[in-house]
Structure formats: C-alpha cells, structure tokens
Symmetry: D2
C-alpha cells in the first residue's frame, strides 16, 4: 500500500501515522520528495481499511499494490478452480447450465420442468424455496417444503439442485442441497458467509446490486477464509441509471473476474434483464465472454404461471438457447 501525504503536513502528524502503521505489524518505507512525502507499507496489509486511510486529514491519496483477498486471488492460485457438484462440475473447460423455475410451486411443476431442462441439456436444477421479496405482502416461498420437492425432482432426474438460503438459521434445512445460493441482497451478510465457510458445501455467490468486483471477491474471501474453497461467482446485473432493463448486465465482469480469480464465473441472464425475450441473446454473450456457465429461469405453463412469464423461457425456447449456446462455445474453441 502506498500513502501520499498532503503538502505541508506537520511532521508530528506523519510520525503519528507511521507509528500507527507499525503498530499494525507493518514496516514503512518513507520517501520524502520535493513536493510530497510518500509512505510505502510493507507486509500483510490485507487488514488495513483503505477507505479509512483515505479519509485521514493528512492523506492526499492512497493505493493498494496488492489486493486484500488472498484465497480468491489468481496470483497465488494460477490454476482454475473446478467445483465438483455430484456428477457435474463448474469451472475449467465445461460450461454449466443451471435451469429451473423462479419458485418451486408443486411436485408436478418442479418435476415436469426438471425433466424438460435435463432433456434440453441442463446440468443442474435451480428453484426458489425461500424467496426474497421486496414486499412483505408477496408470496414468500414454500420454504422447507420447497427443498423437499427439489429433492424429489433430483431423485427423478439425477440433476444436482441449487437453491437460495436467506438466513443462517435455515442452514440445517440445506443439508441435502447440492449448491447453496447466496442472493445479491445477502452478498455482504457476513455472518451468513462465515457460517457457509465452516461447511464444505459449494456456494453460488451472486454479486450485489451495487457491489464492485473487488467487493464480490472479498465476500468470496469470507467463505474461503473459513476453509471452504467451493465458491462459484455469479454476475447477475448491477444497478445503474438505465431503466430499459431491470438491471444492467456487466458482461465485462466475466473477463475481469477470470483475470482476478481462479474461481468459476457464471452469468444469470434472467435476473440481469428481467425480460424473457433478452435471455437468449444475453446467454450467448455469456458464452462469448468466456463464462463458465449460466443460470436460466424456465417455466412450464405460460398461461398459468404468469409470474414466471416475465423473465422465464418455455422449455422449447430453453432448448433452442442451449443448442445455440453450444454452437457459440464450439465456434470459440
């Protein structure tokens, strides 16, 4: 970390800052220039809060040289991490296709969709049991019963299941879930991340609505610091001023994350746009950008399941998307 000191700062204040840095177990290289004094911090600076340093009255500017994430950092782990989920994998050369309904509604519904998406080429089944709704008056999901239904669909099709946890008190209901999803709203629920770090379960960590890639990696670090390296990152759109789509898919996040980390990176085109007719082109962009997979909403009954209609594909539409996605992947091999 490099700290540039303001012009005309009292030597006593600079010394005070240097003493504090040393008290954190770091050493300091002081370089006094004509115009400015620059401090170079040497040692493990990962616990130094850069915003805090930037806010100090004597500090002109501050810059990290090394990233504050270690376990997630590609520098220290050059090879791609491949997360194994039963018979499926995420990361490396394979392209994971996770598909299923927004909400689990009934045994018939989830089983019918599971069979359809498997046939079309999905590698895992997703479905919401606990639902994060912005309104307290909305349907909050089947909760524990929804997980039971997912497990039935798994038994039927062999597809590993992915479903979202909303609070660490729910953790024991997730014993048989293959991949625990942490939603965008919970990306910085540190207590939950720590609890997941103590399990060995694969975690699908979604990027927060206004989280930088560095913050996403720090959240992954929370899980990994506890000993669980099975983290899958998911770009699902960020909040911007544009309202033509629900969120703005940050497709550059794919090559950027692949540079920063060895963890697998997937894309959720359904939530990124909120519009079913954009899901197909956005899925192709995920493949084109080099993502390790996608997560797509599929519903089975357009006339009844209006809820799903907004951002979900029918099984037939999904099957076509899978075919074309594979063609794009093949073209770029």
């Amino acid at each position: 970390m490099i700290i540039v000191i303001k012009n005309n700062t009292d030597k006593a204040q600079v010394d005070n800052l240097i003493d504090w840095v040393k008290s954190q177990g770091l050493s300091v290289n002081v370089s006094v220039g004509q115009e400015q004094t620059v401090l170079g911090l040497i040692g493990d600076v990962s616990s130094i809060d850069i915003d805090l340093v930037r806010g100090l009255s004597v500090v002109e500017n501050v810059m990290r040289i090394s990233e504050p994430y270690k376990n997630a950092n590609r520098k220290f782990h050059p090879d791609d991490t491949i997360v194994e989920v039963e018979n499926a994998t995420v990361g490396g050369k394979d392209f994971a296709i996770i598909a299923g309904p927004c909400s689990v509604e009934s045994k018939e519904q989830i089983c019918e969709i599971a069979i359809a998406v498997k046939q079309a080429g999905a590698t895992m089944l997703r479905g919401g049991a606990f639902k994060p709704r912005t309104s307290p008056y909305d349907f909050q999901g089947l909760r524990g019963d929804g997980i039971e239904l997912l497990l039935e669909a798994k038994k039927l099709t062999g597809l590993p299941i992915v479903t979202e946890i909303m609070d660490l008190s729910q953790l024991e209901l997730f014993n048989d879930v293959d991949v625990v999803q942490v939603g965008a709203r919970n990306m910085q629920n540190m207590e939950l991340l720590k609890a997941l770090g103590r399990t060995k379960k694969p975690v699908l960590l979604k990027r927060g609505l206004s989280s930088t890639l560095k913050e996403l990696l720090m959240s992954a670090e929370y899980i990994m610091a506890g000993g669980n390296g099975n983290v899958i990152l998911c770009e699902r759109g960020i909040r911007t001023f544009e309202t033509a789509t629900r969120n703005t898919l940050d497709i550059s996040a794919v090559p950027a994350l692949k540079e920063f980390t060895h963890l697998p990176v997937i894309v959720d085109p359904s939530h990124a746009s909120g519009i079913a007719r954009y899901v197909a082109p956005l899925t192709y962009t995920a493949a084109a950008a080099g993502a390790h997979g996608v997560m797509i909403e599929v519903h089975n009954n357009p006339s009844a399941a209006l809820c799903d209609g907004a951002q979900s594909l029918t099984p037939d539409e999904f099957a076509e998307v899978v075919t074309k996605t594979n063609a794009v992947l093949e073209a770029l091999k």
Copy 2:
C-alpha cells in the same frame, strides 16, 4: 395500477393477462384506444410485482397509482410518528443527536466518550459492538461484550443506546439495547426485518447503498407489517460514480421521505462522506433540509484511535457542531 398493452397484441393474450389479474382478487377496467389498450387495475395491488408485469411480452409500460407500502405511507397516517426512546424522542419537532465511537473498544473509551457527547448535547449514545467489515481479516467487534460496555455507559450518563445487529441469531443479546440499528448491508435482510417486526423495539433502519427511497420504505413496511411501528429511517449516502467522498449524501432524500412517510428521518453525515472535515457542513445541511436528527461518529483519542480518525470528530469539534446545528435549527423555525 395502469398497464399499457403493446400495439397489435393478440386478444387471447390480453384476455389471459386479464384472467390472471382477476385471479389475484382484483377487478380490471379495460380501455381500448385507437392506438393502445390500457388496463386499470382496481383493488389492493400491493402484492403485484411491478417489475414482473413490466417484463411481460404483451406489456408496453406499467405504472403504479398507489404505493405498495401502507403502514409507512403518510397518506394513511398524516401525522408525524414520534418514536420514544426512554427519555428521548425522535420525530416531530425535536432534533435527535446520536453520537459515539465507530467501535466500542473498552469501558474507559466508551464511558469517556459518552460523558463528552452528553455534555455537548447528544441525546443518545451510539457505538458498534458487532462490526460489518468487508474483509474477514478485519476486527469484527467486541460483540456481546461491547453491548455490556454500552450498558455501563448508559448507566453512567442516562443516554439511551443505539447499536447495530448483524444477524437475527444475535437478537436476544439486544434485549436491553434501546434502539436496534439495521445497517445498510442488511436493509433487505427480510428475515431479520420480520424478526424485528415481532418485537416492539425502536429500529433505526439505514438506507442500502443502492436502494431507492421506495425500497427503503418497503423495508420499513416489513418491520411495520409485523406490528412494530417504531421505525426511524436513516439516509447515509448512496453509491454513485463520484469518488471524492466515500458515498454521495442524498440530501434531497430528507424532504422526499418526509413527503412519502410519517416516520422520522435522520442523517448520518459520518458514513455518507467518510471524511471527518466534511461532517460539520453535512450536519448543517441535515438540519437545513428538515431532518429529525443526525448520527455522528465521535472518538476520544486521536493519536491512538487512528481508525476513528478518518470520519470521526473529536469531542471539541462535536460540541461546536452541535452549537452551530442548533443555530441553524433556530434560524429556520
């Protein structure tokens, strides 16, 4: 809610949508124009997800006529809510001044600051026991012990205490806490909000980093729907492209929220800017905008507590801020 149907939409699809709306217990007023068909939904539409409707292939545009929050809505509760916290109040005519350190560190520290801020005019004491840190390698707070120390400072000074909860599993440790703070990262932790709704404890709800005012009000609604109307809203800066300050204080949120809701609205200038030397002017803007109070970080030992130095005032600086804030309030009476 008004739904504008796309040009040239199949009548069957429109009928399908109308049927779905009716199945939600609503009635529909259909107006067929030369260019466009418009549906007016009549009844309690608060459980309709507007993003979902907007994403439907037959929908051109959609607009709410009434807000989806009821309990928090000023339309149905024209009078200001005044939250009573022991001998203090938030809302109405009084201006609450909540002050204290970023983190509770020791008995000496918290008691010394409590005495100083009380003398300067603070009406409540704040201090972090559980700390939400972006890095797993940072100090995570004294946790339960920190709450004990806050209670000692309360005994000494009579100031009610405000401290942040990070997970609902911590709730029973908060029995004697006067105001439970929900941080920006947890604004949409729905399970936590529901749990707080089942208590009668005053809740200080901070706006999420990228949450709209309507979303903040929906989170308040989660708490209020459970029967707890003691909610204090807190503007603490939003994330924008500007990096000169840590966040961008959205000062217009104060008059806007006061129009939308009867709940009290306070401002946190310390976290909004992340820079101690901007805390004074931003506190004056909070008073000038009509806020019901402020929450300010104060530290006691600038040489040791470097951490606090970034965005915290010394007790002397704080005392001057209180004096000038009162002058602004007086000027605008």
Copy 3:
C-alpha cells in the same frame, strides 16, 4: 400520456392543468376514480416534457404511452434501416467492422494500419483527427490535416472513413468524410445534431456516458427530424460505480435498441473497457448479442505508440478477433 392526479387536489387546479393540456393542441380523457383522478392525453404528445409534468405539485405520477421519438421508432418503420457508405453497408444482415488507430499521427502510420485492417477483414477505417481530451494540455489531434491523411489511406485501400467531429464550425472540413462520428460527450450537443440533420451524411452517434437508451434515440431523432435518416447508433459503455473497467459495456442495449428502433446498432469494445485484453471477448459478445457491427482500435507499433497500447489491438490480434467473430456470427445464423 397518462397523468395521475394527487389525492385531494383542488378541482380548480386540475381544471387549470386540463386547460394547459388543451392549449397544447391535445384532447383529454378525464377518469375520476374513487381514490384518484387520471387524465389520458390524446394527440401528439411528443412535445410534452414528461419531467416537467412529473414535477407539478398536483401530479402523483405520469407515464408515456407512446414514445416521444417518431422517425427513429420501429413501430412506424418496422424494417431495418441499412445505411449505405460507399461500397459498405451498416444494418440488416451484414456485420460492419470499423477499425483503425485512436489518433491519426502520420501518413505512414494511417496507411500501414489501413492496409493491415483491410487485409484482416475491416469494412471501414476509423481514426481520430479532432481529439476530445479531458485535459487542455493533451495532444488535440492533427485536425484538418488528419482528415487529409485519412483520405489518402482511403485512396490506397478503398475503405470508407469514419472520423469524429467536435464542433459544427468544423463541418465543412468533413465534406469528403464518409461517416461523421458524434462522440459521447457531444451526444446532446443539439446545435451540432441539427446541423448534421441538414446534411445527408451518415452519422455514427455514440451513446453519452450517462445517457439512457431513450435519450440516445431522442438525439437520433434530432438528426432525423432534419431529414437525415442515415444514423448509426453506437453503444460504447456507460458510467457506473464499477472501476475495474473504464466504463461498463451495456450489452443489453443491443437487443433493447433493436426492439425500439430500426436504426443499425454497433458496439465499441475498445472504449467500453479501456483495456486491450478485454477487447476480444467483448467483440464476441457484440456479435452474440446481435449487433450490426463493431468499432475497434488497432495500432501498428506497440513500442512507439504507447498511447494506443492501452486499449488497442495489434494487427495480428485484430485479425484473430475478426476470424473468431465471424465464427460466432456463423454459429448464430
């Protein structure tokens, strides 16, 4: 346009608003509901400023039913516009590849690059003559002389040329330029747009850094209202909170714009990311999303032209990108 009136509004104020609407040559359909009064405006509302109406004290909410852009609107012109540029075309089935250096520096430089990009498959040559620099101390481009050099490169290779105009006073220097580029900073330079509307020259209109897609279309409308329908839209990244890339490429803008308008839509991956090593994957995403082309920076001398090095490809890298892009296009046919 639908205007929802606030609860409990004075009838006189509503009548005043209705009179004003009528004075704009529109008729009004008034629907008085139990809770709210709703006005439906009938006629050509394209000159009504929606922000203005929204700000009125009696207005609860307002929504457009029809878009304020007419000439650019796909509803009224369902077929794709194909812009013809000498022997090249943009729009429809073809994929335009516009390539060249950031700045025109010398005859040797621009001719060498022109030959290389033509060989690799480029359909047009780009190069900056007038440069919009954020610092007044930066190189401001060769200006008129740069255009002369581009014309020499065109003579040599037959590639039509694209270069940026910065002020309408420069317009006559652009007589022989094939496509006039309007940069992101000038997207709402209305006087310039009007002047370009009076020519018949193809215009490549870049999206402003913080412009919505609707605003981009309104800027296209400015040009088209003058009688010039040869407008090419260009997504080049928007400003968000994320700093890992210079801007955030909004790849969803491609399917969204193609739905809203018949004008061709291209992508500039070089400026969107500002990072050369992301240009290849982002170009593939443009093809995957259905764009009508890309504009890519290519430099010829990595050791000397450090300036170009940041976001530019070498001719060899560019040739590989073209090959793979064609493979993606083929895969999705």
Copy 4:
C-alpha cells in the same frame, strides 16, 4: 504519478514504458521491491492520461500524486477567487442569489420577474434564451431575441444577466451578456470551453450529469488555460439510480470543491430536484454547506406558465426562501 508494475513483467517491457515516460519529458524513479516494481514519475505529469496508463498490460495500478489541473488548483492559489460581475460579486464572503425564469418568453414576463426577484434580494437575473431540449419538437427558446429582452430587464433593474450559450457560433450574440452559462450537457464541449477561455467574460460552468468533481475542474482548466480566470462552478445534481428526484443533488460537492479549488461554487436547487416544493429546503442546504450562492428558477404567472410551474417558485415563495437563507447564513457566521 506512481505506477505499480504487474508481477513477473518482462524487464524489456518495463524499460519500454520507462523510455516512453522519459520521451514525455519526465524523469523516473524506479523502486524494485520483493513483490512489485514501482515507478515514480517526476516532473509535470498533467498531460499524462491516467486511464491510458491504467489500461497498459504491464500496469497493475496507477495513482496521481498531484492533480492534473493547475490554474484551478487551490494548492497553487490558496486565496478564494472572487468573480466580479458589474456591481455584484461571486466568491469569498458574499452569497450570490441568481434568479429568474426557465425561459425568457416576453418583455412583460422577464421585466416583471426581474423587478420581483430584485426586490426579494436577488443579485443577478437568469433566463434561458437558447434552450437545450431533449426533443427536437420542443420550443427551442427565443434565441437572440431572448438576450435582447434580458438586456432590457437589466436596464430596468440594474441586475447583471446570466444566460446559457449552446454553441460557440452563438458567441458574438453574448457580447453584452454579463455571465455566460455553460450547461451540464456542454461541460465537456472542449471547443466551446477553449473559445470562452479566449474571452475575459465570467463563465458559469455547470457540472455534467455524470461528471466527477475532478472532471469539472478539468473543464474549468480548459477555460483558465486560455487566460480567463473568471469561472464560477455550479453543482446542479448528478444522475444516479434514484428517481424520486430528477437528479441527485450532491451537496458534499460544496465542501469538496472548496477544498480542491479557489473558484466560487454555487448550487442550482431547481434543476437538481426538478420539484418546486424541494427548492426551499435544498437552498438552505446550499447555504449550510458553505456554497457561495444559488441559482433559482422563479416564474410570475402560475396559471399560464405551466412549464415553469414544475420546478419554479413564485416571487412570494422566492422572497421567503431568501429571508430564511439569510438567516441560515447568519447562524453559521
């Protein structure tokens, strides 16, 4: 400027970068650490494009030590600049109050408003002659005739006049205008800024919708580099995700700009919110934050001038705002 080189970079590439830096007339201090090599650039780095350097493949990170703006920088000009506009001043201790209608419409209108705002305490008169409208179908202003009417109102009241220029071709019409306003959309119209730099006219420079404070200062630098130091900066709201107000007033910009620069800083609460009923509180926040003035829209005929109604005050409302603003200023003296 400090450049951190990526781990494991080829020495030849680093040497190449060093050679380029030297070719820009700078010297380089190379510090080879255990983990990373760091270059310190010495000399006038204001012409180095930091985004360009950041995008280089060998660069890990880069940070400016000194700002790229010189003339606008408070470091080199510690005393406040006071811009003199006839009998009025902006900057230093005085608080400028610029008021007037959105658009100049007629002699009667502008004169009536001018008299009213002068009586209420305005120090300058504003009014739009050239109007930047997002729709080509909207009223584009009275243009040259509007300036004539403003000059008549000036003759009548003695108030200096402020009006917006939209293109440098209009410059000679502004000969008698006291303060030339550059709108948010033109903040980076570099050709216009350069032309204004060659005059000595006071320029009111509005912050672009998505411009950082550093970019605003670079635009001021464009004007100042030409020899015109009479620049007034204006915060008028930035674009964010929040839609409750038209823009988000960045009130922290006031203390931040006052730290960065010696130029006067004013606030435009009318455009920041777009809502008349928020103009009063936001004006008080401008005074509370330490701004050197405000610019407020005032209209005279609420029933006819519906256009102005949205974000404009009546003369009576304006008079009350001036009185209370003065009380806030007095309270903070």
